[in-house]
Every structure is written in C-alpha cells, then in structure tokens.
C-alpha cells in the first residue's frame, strides 16, 4: 500500500516543482521517489495482505511484478534528463503524468476486485492518452494520441460489457467469489463465456496482442520515443501481469474457454508481429512490431497456466523490459544525432566511433532474439518449458519458428552497426543516460548467466 501512496505522492510533489523553476531537481526527485517506492515494495515481500475489504491483494506475485516495473520506470527516468533537454514547456507535468499512470500500473498487479481492475486500467490509460500527444505541435504525435484514445475507450467499453455479463451471472466483483462460483457450477453459462471473451479481448487491446494490435505501430511511432518506451515496457508488463492474475485468480475454472482465445492471439501475434517487423524500414516501427511478437511469447506463459507460469512470465518481462529500454535508448540518441527518421541506415558504422552504444544495442538485440548468455535465451527457454509441460508442444514449435524469423530483423541492425561504414562521430550523452544503459546491459547479462535468482522467486 505504501508503494502506491509513494508513487502517487511523488507525482504530486513533482507537480509543485514547477513553481521553483528548477529543472535540475526534477530527475533526482523522481528517482528518489521511485527508489523509495521500490524499498517499500520489497518490504512487502512474504506478507500476504488483503486490504480494504478484499479490494487489493498484495502477495509475492504483485511485489515481484511491481519491482520489475519500478526498475523499468527508474531506467526510463534516467533517460529522460537528456531527452527533455531543450524542451522548456510542461516538463514537470509530463513527469507527474508518468507517475500517475504508474499508479494505475501498480493497481493492475495487485487488484482483487473487478472495480479495482477497471480503475487501474483507466488510471494507467488516461495519462497515457495525454502523454502520447505531449509533443503538441507534431502532427504524428497528435494522431498517435487520438488513435490511442479511440482504441482505448473502445476497449474499455468492451471490457465493461464483459464485466457486466460476469456480474450478471455471479453477482459479485470479488475475484475469489467469482472463482468459487465457477468451480461450483458444472456447466458454464453462455453469458459467462461471452463475459470472459470480452474481458480477455479488451486486455488483448491494452497489451497489443494481434488481432487487436492495429493501433500499436502507429501509436508507438507517433508518440515521443520516451513515452513509447514506457508503453512498450511498463504498460505491457502491467497488462500481462493483470491478465495472468485475472485468469489464475478468477477464471481458472473456465480455462478451456479462454485457452482457445489465447491460442488465436499467440499464433496471430507471431505471424503479424514477425512479418510486420521484417517489412519495416524504420527501426522504431520495427520495435513496435517486434513488441507484438514478444506479446505472443508472454501469452505462451499464460496459456500454460501451471506452477511455472508466473515465474517464467516474470523472467520474460524482466528480460524484455531491459532489452526494450536499452534499444529505445540507443534509438533516441541515434535519432537525435542524425536528426533522421531512425531508419536502419542511421545505425551504420555505430561501432567504430561509439563502441559502447554499439555494445549496448548488441546485447539488447541478442537478448530479444534469444541468444545464450543474454537474459533473452533463458526467458524463452522457461516460457517454452512451461507451455510444453501443459501439452502445448505445437505452439512451442510455432514459437521457435517465430524466434528464428526474428533473427532476420534483429541482426540487420547488428550488421549495420558493425559491418557498414559511415562517417559518424562520437555521440554526446549525459551521465544519467550512461548509468541507465550500464544498468540495463549489466542486468541483462547477469540475469542471463544466473537465471535461478529470478526464476525461483515466485
């Protein structure tokens, strides 16, 4: 609970710094707030609490996912100092909106009631609609903002219909009561099935799982890159953690119903994510499509729904978040320096003058592909293990093919960086930026070598 309060309070404190016109303090205050929240969060470890009339349930699952998300938030905040250099309007408001949105993300990992799930999704999304459009004079940013808003509000409507139907059948919003109802009744009524379908689809919208992904490439491309990083990491992890919590805590008795939906999600995500990514000329769009394909891998852990699901999903989220943040960070630098549209060509010859950046990008790309000694390898390995144990071998074979196709577009960047010539110079980056890159790369490698630290947690 203190985690949540700290995050929201930090947002409000940041809002007040506008009065002092002290831009230097912004990032330190934000990071202090996030670190405090992380400390409170870890202190909740092994304390299973049910708070506020069973509205919230704080257990190891929520603590672990919160920690991954707070880590991503801190890394993003470290990047933000250089990113907002030269922007003089509304910066502190943007930071506070980030924190408010993060409050919603924290609610999503620890909800125990449909009301909280609804409020969490909305608290996470509404600031994001604004953040996506925060480059007010950029036409693309405006477009991203309204596309995201329209799709988001439609998803909300679908979600509410689903909740209404589930409520009609069970008469409760409490997850454990709904779960008891489902296990007590022999035959699941058609209203219930529809309700589950609608809820799963609406969360599919939020995590950009195909076939409900179509907003994602445009929104990811149009939004400011830092916001895209936030969307691709924290928002996706929160959504997927909420989905697993919902399906295990509430709809586990109706597993046969939603497993078919998830099968379709997974296959389509692999196909559309990979083939979309191959065709792109812009790296930012490529990363957007590749995030769709990563959603497929994460859903693979959920569909398995056994004792390995939570831990493999946690590990995958961590490795995916770190690699994505590192990749987007390098992209921000290259894009700013070249002042280009971030095509593959702008990465040419990066290794010659900026070996550090090239190495960071190399580990990120290897991790996304799933090459050993980076975290991505064991992430994919554990996800596959979990779904094979539940008898989804055919899905795992599809996933392996998808991972192999992924080599095509991830290695294109590596080849451009190391084997192509260009007359680039050293790119300037500030200390916060370097720290963020070092942390992301170091954890990616450390966790890749010693996976048991994470995998045994929950």
């Amino acid at each position: 609970m203190l985690t949540l309060i700290t995050i929201a309070a930090t947002g409000i404190i940041i809002l007040y710094t506008t009065f002092f016109k002290s831009r230097k303090l912004l990032v330190p205050i934000a990071i202090t707030g996030a670190l405090t929240a992380l400390a409170f969060n870890i202190s909740d470890w092994n304390t299973n609490q049910l708070l506020f009339n069973n509205m919230m349930k704080i257990d190891n699952y929520s603590v672990a996912f919160n920690s991954v998300m707070i880590l991503s938030l801190i890394l993003i905040l470290l990047l933000s100092h250089q990113y907002f250099k030269g922007v003089d309007k509304n910066v502190s408001e943007i930071y506070s909106l980030l924190f408010f949105s993060f409050t919603g993300a924290c609610l999503l990992t620890s909800f125990n009631n449909f009301t909280m799930l609804f409020i969490g999704i909305e608290t996470m999304s509404i600031p994001l609609y604004v953040l996506a459009g925060s480059k007010k004079f950029s036409i693309r940013s405006n477009e991203a903002s309204f596309k995201y808003f329209i799709m988001g509000s439609f998803a909300t409507a679908i979600f509410l219909l689903g909740v209404a139907l589930v409520y009609g059948v069970t008469g409760s919003f409490n997850m454990s009561e709904v779960s008891e109802y489902i296990s007590a009744t022999a035959k699941i009524s058609s209203l219930m099935k529809l309700g589950i379908l609608f809820i799963v689809i609406s969360i599919g919208f939020k995590i950009a799982a195909a076939p409900f992904h179509f907003w994602a490439p445009d929104v990811y491309e149009g939004s400011p890159t830092l916001v895209t990083t936030y969307m691709a990491t924290v928002v996706k992890v929160a959504g997927i953690a909420a989905l697993l919590r919902l399906l295990t805590g509430c709809f586990i008795g109706a597993a046969a119903e939603w497993q078919h939906i998830l099968e379709a999600f997974i296959i389509l995500s692999f196909v559309i994510g990979n083939f979309g990514a191959i065709q792109q000329q812009s790296v930012k769009r490529m990363l957007a499509y590749s995030s769709i394909s990563h959603t497929g891998f994460m859903l693979l852990a959920i569909i398995a729904i056994n004792q390995f699901s939570a831990s493999s999903l946690l590990y995958y989220s961590l490795s995916y978040s770190l690699a994505t943040i590192a990749a987007f960070a390098v992209l921000i630098l290259v894009k700013n320096y070249k002042n280009s549209d971030a095509s593959y060509e702008s990465f040419n010859g990066l290794a010659k003058h900026n070996p550090f950046l090239a190495f960071v990008m190399l580990t990120a790309m290897l991790s996304m592909t799933g090459i050993p000694i980076t975290a991505g390898f064991f992430a994919k390995y554990y996800v596959f293990l979990a779904s094979v144990k539940s008898g989804y071998s055919w899905l795992v074979i599809c996933a392996i093919i998808a991972a192999l196709v992924g080599v095509a577009y991830y290695f294109r960047i590596i080849i451009n960086m190391y084997y192509k010539e260009s007359n680039s110079e050293k790119i300037i980056k500030d200390n916060y930026f370097v720290i963020s890159l070092i942390i992301a790369t170091a954890i990616t490698l450390a966790v890749g070598i010693l996976p048991q630290f994470i995998i045994g947690l929950i």
Partner: protein, 105 residues
C-alpha cells in the same frame, strides 16, 4: 417498480443500444460523433449493471457502484478527449478521422 417487466427486456434494450453505439463508432468520421457513440456504448452497459443489480441481487449495491465509477471515469475520459480534439483541430483544421492519417506503412 418493475413489476411485470421481465429482466430480459432491459437486457435487450441495452444490447440494442450497444449495437447502435458500435455502428456509430464504426461508420462516423467526425471525432466528436465517435466520442458520442462511445458514450452510448458505456450507457448501454450501465443499464445492464443496474438491471442485474436490481433484479438479481437487490440486497447488495455493487452494480450501482460500478455504474457510479463508470460515470465518473467517462467524465474524465470525455474531458481528456475534448482536449485532444481541440489540439487536433489546431493542427489539422479539421476533426475528421481520415484527414489525420499521416502515418502509413
């Protein structure tokens, strides 16, 4: 006050309104009308909640509360949406969906 009205009637009313909202959402191009269609959809869901609450579980007010939260969130969403629309109007001088289609793949 609902003697003689079966629950199904309310549900069918809400389903019809949901359909009208979806139709408007898919066919209109004016951003404000799209927003209004979304409001229609949300209201049809509200009817569902209140009807279920009143007919099946009248001893607990949970459905009413969910409706209350939906109304509150819809208000917040509308405020943000209006701001987005004004901003789009400033840049595009139009609020038709297809005028704002810069990104193509």
């Amino acid at each position: 006050m609902t003697e003689g009205i079966p629950l199904n009637y309310f549900l069918i009313l809400s389903t019809l309104m949901f359909f009208i909202g979806i139709y408007g959402f898919l066919t209109r191009r004016n951003l404000i009308t799209i927003l209004m269609s979304v409001e229609l959809i949300l209201n049809s869901v509200n009817i569902n909640f209140v009807a279920f609450n009143n007919y099946l579980y009248p001893d607990r007010l949970q459905g009413h509360f969910f409706t209350l939260f939906i109304i509150a969130v819809a208000a917040a969403e509308a405020a943000v949406a209006i701001a987005i629309i004004i901003n789009i109007y400033r840049n595009f001088k139009s609020i038709n969906v297809e005028d704002a289609n810069e990104m193509k793949y």
